[in-house]
Symmetry: C2
Amino acid sequence: MATIRDVAKLAGVAVCTVSRTINNNQNVLPETKEKVLRAIKELDYVPDELTRGVFRKKVGIIAMLVPSIRHQFFGSLAYHVEKELYVKGYKLMLCSADDQMEREQEYMRVFRSNLVDGVILCVTHLEDSVYENFGKPLVMLDYQVNEKIPVVVCDNVMGGELAAEVFIKNHRKHVLQIISESDKPVFSLKRHVALRAALEAAGVAVRDTIINWNQYDFVGYQDLSMSLLETHPEIDGIMAPDMPAAAFLKAAVRLGKRVPEDICVVAFDGTYLTRVNTLQITAITQPLDLMAEKIVEVISAQVDGKELEESLYIFPPTLTRGETG
Amino acid sequence: MATIRDVAKLAGVAVCTVSRTINNNQNVLPETKEKVLRAIKELDYVPDELTRGVFRKKVGIIAMLVPSIRHQFFGSLAYHVEKELYVKGYKLMLCSADDQMEREQEYMRVFRSNLVDGVILCVTHLEDSVYENFGKPLVMLDYQVNEKIPVVVCDNVMGGELAAEVFIKNHRKHVLQIISESDKPVFSLKRHVALRAALEAAGVAVRDTIINWNQYDFVGYQDLSMSLLETHPEIDGIMAPDMPAAAFLKAAVRLGKRVPEDICVVAFDGTYLTRVNTLQITAITQPLDLMAEKIVEVISAQVDGKELEESLYIFPPTLTRGETG
DNA sequence: TTGTAGGCGTTATCAG
DNA sequence: CTGATAACGCCTACAA
């Protein structure tokens, strides 16, 4: 790999002239510039972004840490985030904690070593102090450590209420909600509180099942849903994230239940997992494109040293009517 | 952010002593080491991996360029790749070309700027010379430029034949295969040649529909499948990648066709998209875990300057019997 | 065992 | 407009 020195030598100019040519382009005689560009082409020279990064204290990479790349929700979110980042000239470094705390910790360490300019955190199992003392631009998705660390999140209360409406309109009596276990007061818990409140006010019974994210893949959800529906045949409505929702739909159909007459399924998130099924699943859809836009706006503003006006950005979800409720 | 100098000052030693403490740990008096470690902790010092990278000419990051992060196939593959990379101490930088050549090109440029140690390429729309003159460790997934650039791929011929068997056993007469358009002689085309050969030998008619990856999302596939099945009611078998396969299944059911009696669906890839449906889709499953293992082995061997014994690694797919054929 | 000096590839400063 | 020179933060000789 050619260095800037090689280019300078070949072009017969000083190193800094090459540097100027690559960067500002100011104060370089057109013919000198021409010579330099020819040498660059000749040597197939590409500036070392690593070294540049050392100097500028900025590499142009934003990291995004997710529980697992496999989850379609994060795949979709990452898709939109990457798109927005690209427009601003950043590259995305997508990292998967693989649902392990140890790896989450290791990644947080790596992020602090200047390999990235900022971090989008979709997973927050570590101690608050880790985030408080992180020392680099941060955006979180489901948990607010303090007012200094911005959060972009969908309006979970509204989401829970939208779901409740669906169940009420369908005259449900026993609704089951699948709750992801959490060691912290994350925003997504609010949807469950809201759903319960709205349903109980309407005289509907609500049952909670708490699950561990890292314990289930689709097959696991399938087993869980089968046994739950068998044990509790009274259940006539379910709210769950997309993947478990699909599993419950599958289980319900297998058990001979009619959908939506016997059982309603409402998926929370609304990725295309809710559409691939023969029956389209009714969903509370998070506006991932808008959220991604805000996430990128917030993280890049911080990288540029700007002050943020708010620290909490809430986006309303929408109800996507499907055939399951 | 504290630098190595701050640590040295606080610990009352020279900079290089700190460096040695962080790295080798050789030839440092236990008590000196102790002092240094205390200072590191005190200052919450994290070495600047950027600078280290400049020196070592290695950053510990491997990039993976995919057509689009949204595609579950690449999400799953990335999941396994990341897992293997992590074990070897590498971080993954997952990049999405978003099905645009321009972005593919831009990423290839960035990759050469030393921000990554090697690249896993799942998308290869550029001129061969770009890959030939890349100058960094490379692994490709579906296209062999030359014998110097290693390829990890699933046995597409075998995959096509496995699919053909399914159709033949089900006594199909008119099979449709969905082919991704390609400007290059990629390996995945072989599955279609193999399927056609095997089916025609058995007297089964084969129809091809060529699609453009970047033209369809699930809704697009749904429209396509609907119109194709309506226009060609004689079709009684379909081979397609997971997502279009799911779309065809949905369309078939909507059109009142019985599955698998009236129409068989075989998905190629076998990600969990084939499992979330009420009917599990029969699939030709690529061994992504094994492939990822090999990919990482091959890329890291190159980063370490080792010579590769082979340049083509082919993995047999397996037939996952579902309920659609 | 520890410290000093020089270099990695760039860029900014300040002469010329 | 262009060229030395120092600096970024770290690491490896080589010297002490």
